[in-house]
């Protein structure tokens, strides 16, 4: 009698799958790298980053030279020259950090959901590749692109050290924070890409999560510490609960607060930390936290990949016990037939006379009601902590969510509106629609209004929060009108340009990225660049002031801050008594309202112009009458 065959170890295939070459650099990585190598846009993007870097360096250099030239003695000039290197390094590190973390979700947002949309994911999952290998290879190919961008600044960082005055640790710390934050941003993007149906939805969800992680977590940490130190005398929690109010004993270490936010950590590396926290502790712990979140995101994406794919093919979501029962049944050779999890039928509604608009306004931002419920619950939780534990009478604290909310609104408007036409093209429904009698104007208007309607959630949360500020901090209710006007302007503008870009680009994620780039250029690069040029290069207060006016007139976040600040006057009962500080000018409530309406009209005009350009392009593209 022969010996039974040795049972193969289960560990061997697992270890084989964890081999870094198979995990990161497998066939998917090679395919994606080959595809990206053929894309012109990739090279244009790299050139744009190099150009941006060159502009930043030039500005820094000119500003330092001007300062040096003004020194009288030679020794003072030499001393001033020693300041060149830190300015260079810090500028480059921030540009590198901003570009890489902003690009990462755009690159990874479509990585998996576009495979699913192209129906290639089931084919990939039938190969010996494990879901972890698929997710990691996708991430690695995108990170390789980002690494190339990061390497572009390496010669500058190394060359600058010739001037002296820069510690090697600063460069190492900055690079470490940037790279780990980029990996985190890419991993969060991959996680949402494995679950969302559209690349733009995944990208938006990734941005929202990253902003909440990078800004929300440190804010929460600071709030809890302040509460623990009893530094919020007006906090509602002790007032409401009296003796039952929890005595929050735990003090979150400052290092942990820095570590939870890569921008805060990079700020500490650039300019030093508060409360004397060692910078080395900050950057090391920030790197570790970012990498842990990355591992968690990639792990979740890999674990859920097969389930998500099965559900997209119609299989139901099973509970743990159902899964166990089914596994046992399969082992016993008696597997019950799989029931469909997809919605198979529902009562038909009556379609309106404008069918495109009818369908568009029924598209929800949240794919399921459960997701909407979770989002509302999350908002209530954050708002609850703010209301109860923090001193919301403090206008500064009240303003932070307004700032975060405004940034989210801009991101949402830039990303959501661009997917209208390109998603029709991706779903192959555009040809069919074009053979109908729907006019280009109807199509564009339907897409535009639909995308505006989908953006309701964040503005509503922001208004609700502001309403609470009005109540608790005794601010003037006109702030609600102001914020509505401020929010509507960019929403209209970016939705109009988004619809236009959606027609110009074949892929929705490309259109969204271009629209986002427009928003970033207008509201991030232009203000920062303008102020830096005016102050440092021309050293002109007048120019700086004029530019400041331009920024405030166009910048929704700046307008939001001024609106909340100006309305926070408990003694002003009439709008005319309110005082809004716009650089060197003081406006009353009426004046500020007119100012905002004018800014809104210009932004709305740009949005309408974008929509009209879309109609014209569509008319030219299809040869139809508008």
């Amino acid at each position: 009698m022969s010996d039974p065959a040795p049972t193969p170890s289960r560990l061997v295939p697992i270890l084989r799958n964890l081999d870094p070459r198979a995990l990161f650099f497998g066939p998917i990585f090679q395919k994606d790298m080959r595809i990206s190598g053929r894309k012109l846009g990739v090279y244009i993007g790299r050139c744009a980053f190099a150009l941006l870097l060159a502009v930043v360096i030039t500005i820094a250099f000119v500003s330092v030279l001007r300062n040096t030239g003004q020194r009288e003695s030679a020794s003072a000039r030499i001393q001033a020259l020693q300041g060149v290197a830190p300015v260079f390094v810090i500028s480059v590190l921030w540009v590198q950090f901003g570009a890489m973390t902003l690009l990462a979700p755009v690159l990874t947002g479509g990585a998996i959901c576009e495979e699913r949309r192209a129906q290639t994911l089931p084919a990939l999952l039938t190969t010996p590749l494990s879901p972890l290998q698929i997710v990691c290879s996708k991430g690695a190919s995108r990170l390789a692109q980002l690494l190339i961008i990061g390497l572009l600044s390496l010669p500058v960082l190394l060359g600058v050290r010739l001037f002296g005055g820069v510690r090697a640790e600063t460069v190492l710390a900055g690079a470490s924070i940037s790279i780990s934050a980029t990996i985190m941003a890419a991993s969060v993007g991959l996680f949402f890409s494995s679950r969302a149906a559209r690349a733009t939805t995944a990208t938006l969800a990734a941005y929202c999560t990253l902003i909440l992680l990078m800004a929300g977590l440190p804010l929460l940490g600071v709030a809890l510490n302040e509460y623990a130190r009893h530094e919020f005398p007006s906090a509602r929690l002790p007032q409401v609960l009296g003796a039952w109010a929890p005595n929050w004993p735990l003090r979150i270490p400052d290092t942990a607060i820095y570590a939870s936010s890569p921008p805060a950590a990079l700020g500490a590396v650039s300019w030093g930390s508060d409360q004397g926290v060692p910078v080395r502790d900050i950057w090391v712990s920030s790197t570790i936290v970012s990498l842990v979140i990355s591992l968690f995101s990639v792990g979740l994406a890999s674990l859920s990949l097969r389930g998500v794919m099965r559900r997209s093919l119609g299989a139901p979501r099973l509970t743990r016990s159902q899964r166990r029962t089914r596994r046992k049944a399969i082992a016993a050779g008696d597997a019950p037939p799989e029931q469909s999890g997809a919605l198979r039928s529902r009562r038909s509604r009556r379609v309106g006379d404008l069918p495109v608009l009818w369908r568009e306004i029924r598209q929800s931002l949240f794919p399921t009601r459960a997701m909407l419920a979770v989002s509302i619950l999350g908002v209530l939780l954050i708002e609850g902590v703010m209301l109860l534990a923090m001193d919301i009478d403090e206008i500064g604290l009240a303003m932070v969510p307004v700032l975060i909310g405004m940034v989210l609104i801009l991101l949402q408007a830039a990303l959501l509106s661009s997917s209208g036409f390109s998603s029709e093209r991706e779903a192959r429904t555009l040809d069919v629609l074009l053979t109908s009698r729907v006019s280009p104007f109807q199509l564009v208007a339907g897409k535009l209004l639909g995308s505006i309607r989908r953006q309701w959630f964040i503005p509503l949360v922001l208004l609700a929060h502001t309403a609470l500020i009005v109540d608790f901090a005794e601010a003037h209710p006109i702030v609600l009108v102001h914020l509505t006007i401020i929010m509507l302007g960019p929403i209209l503008m970016l939705s109009g340009t988004g619809v236009f870009f959606g027609l110009c680009f074949r892929k929705s994620i490309t259109a969204s990225a271009v629209n986002l780039a427009l928003a970033l250029a207008l509201w991030l690069l232009l203000p920062i660049g303008g102020v830096v040029v005016a102050e440092l290069v021309f050293n002109s207060g007048d120019l700086s002031q004029s530019f400041g006016h331009f920024v405030i007139f166009t910048h929704p976040v700046a307008q939001g801050v001024i609106s909340v600040e100006g309305a926070h006057d408990e003694f002003a009962e009439r709008i005319t008594n309110l005082d809004y500080d716009v650089i060197d000018a003081d406006l009353t409530g009426v004046g500020w309202t007119i100012y905002l309406v004018c800014a809104f009209l210009i932004q709305a005009f740009v949005g309408v112009l974008g929509a009209l350009a879309a109609v014209l392009r569509f008319t030219r593209y299809t040869g139809r009458t508008p």
Binding site: R346, R350, V351
Partner: protein
């Protein structure tokens, strides 16, 4: 009903449709045949006003695709080779959507949707989500959609693609029913036996050029001479030597175009005759002269696939 004259459409260096001329009468079912990438879909897209021709002219019901796009859209129903669906709508909503898109008056929409659902046998699926339909039902929904505004002309690009035999038969019956209703159909398909049973005329296109247009009988007549006969010789010990000997005898006859032995099937010989009317007796005589004995003799009639393969010069091999 459809007139295409010297139509040319280029995409960069590629000429997708080259100097194409076709005429389709009202009430005809015109089968449009060609290998992949031959230019069928491009021609249909030009007729559907989705692409502009670079040269030449195309008219539908006397209206030019260059200038009368809006009027043509009302007269045609176009079903692309890959039908994209709005998977968030039910079957009923999907049809209502296109009824509204074709600007049917609100009161008319309900009866029209009911009628096309009935015609395409989808009434039972009215409230089903479009995403949940099988391939056959999706194709029928595609046909239902093109009928929603009662067009005179239907341009159907591969309507039977990916369907099982039963669904194909149902689709064929549906299209025949539409022809009986007086519609003019232009149907492209790779399933040539389907077209043979359904179409009154065909057009064969290869590399953008039309190489045949006319009735199916004309197509058969054009390739008639090339009849093929399959001969199986009786098993014998010397079959290895016998087959070349018989093949040589057959090749020597002027009426025979080519002879080939099937290496996978010992004793089987394929004979292709020269064009023209020939009897088969001389083949048997030549086999006997070559020392062979006939076990089976199967003349193979010309079908649309043969006509297609011969007319397209093997471009689809």
């Amino acid at each position: 009903m459809i007139q295409i004259s010297r139509l040319t459409k280029r995409f960069g260096d590629l000429t997708a449709v080259d100097n194409l001329s076709i005429s389709i009468e009202a009430g005809e079912i015109f089968g449009f045949i060609g290998p992949n990438g031959a230019g069928k879909s491009t021609t249909m897209k030009v007729l559907a006003c989705l692409l502009k021709p670079d040269q030449g002219a195309a008219t539908v019901d006397g209206l030019s695709v260059r200038t009368d796009g809006d009027a043509i859209r009302q007269r045609i129903g176009y079903m692309p080779d890959f039908i994209g669906y709005y998977d968030d709508l039910t079957v009923d909503e999907y049809l209502q959507f296109f009824a509204a898109a074709f600007r049917l008056p609100r009161k008319k929409r309900r009866p029209v949707v009911d009628a096309v659902l009935e015609l395409t046998d989808l009434t039972a699926k009215r409230d089903s989500m479009v995403a949940s339909l099988s391939r056959g039902m999706s194709q029928r929904l595609g046909v239902a959609r093109v009928l929603i505004h009662d067009p005179k002309v239907l341009l159907l690009d591969e309507p039977a693609s990916g369907l099982d035999p039963r669904a194909r038969i149902e689709m064929r019956e549906l299209l025949s029913e539409l022809a009986r209703m007086g519609k003019t159909l232009m149907v492209s398909s790779h399933i040539l036996s389907e077209l043979a049973e359904m179409c009154s005329s065909i057009g064969i296109i290869e590399r953008g050029r039309l190489i045949f247009a006319g009735s199916i009988d004309d197509a058969y007549a054009k390739v008639k001479g090339g009849e093929r006969v399959l001969i199986r010789l009786e098993a014998a010990d010397n079959l290895d030597r016998l087959v070349p000997s018989v093949a040589a005898r057959l090749t020597a006859d002027q009426r025979v175009a080519s002879v080939s032995a099937d290496p996978g099937k010992p004793g089987v010989i394929r004979v292709e005759l020269e064009p023209g009317e020939h009897g088969h007796h001389f083949l048997i005589e030549r086999i006997i002269q070559g020392g062979g004995r006939v076990a089976a003799f199967t003349p193979q009639g010309v079908n649309l696939e043969d006509a297609f393969l011969r007319l397209t010069k093997g471009a689809v091999q």
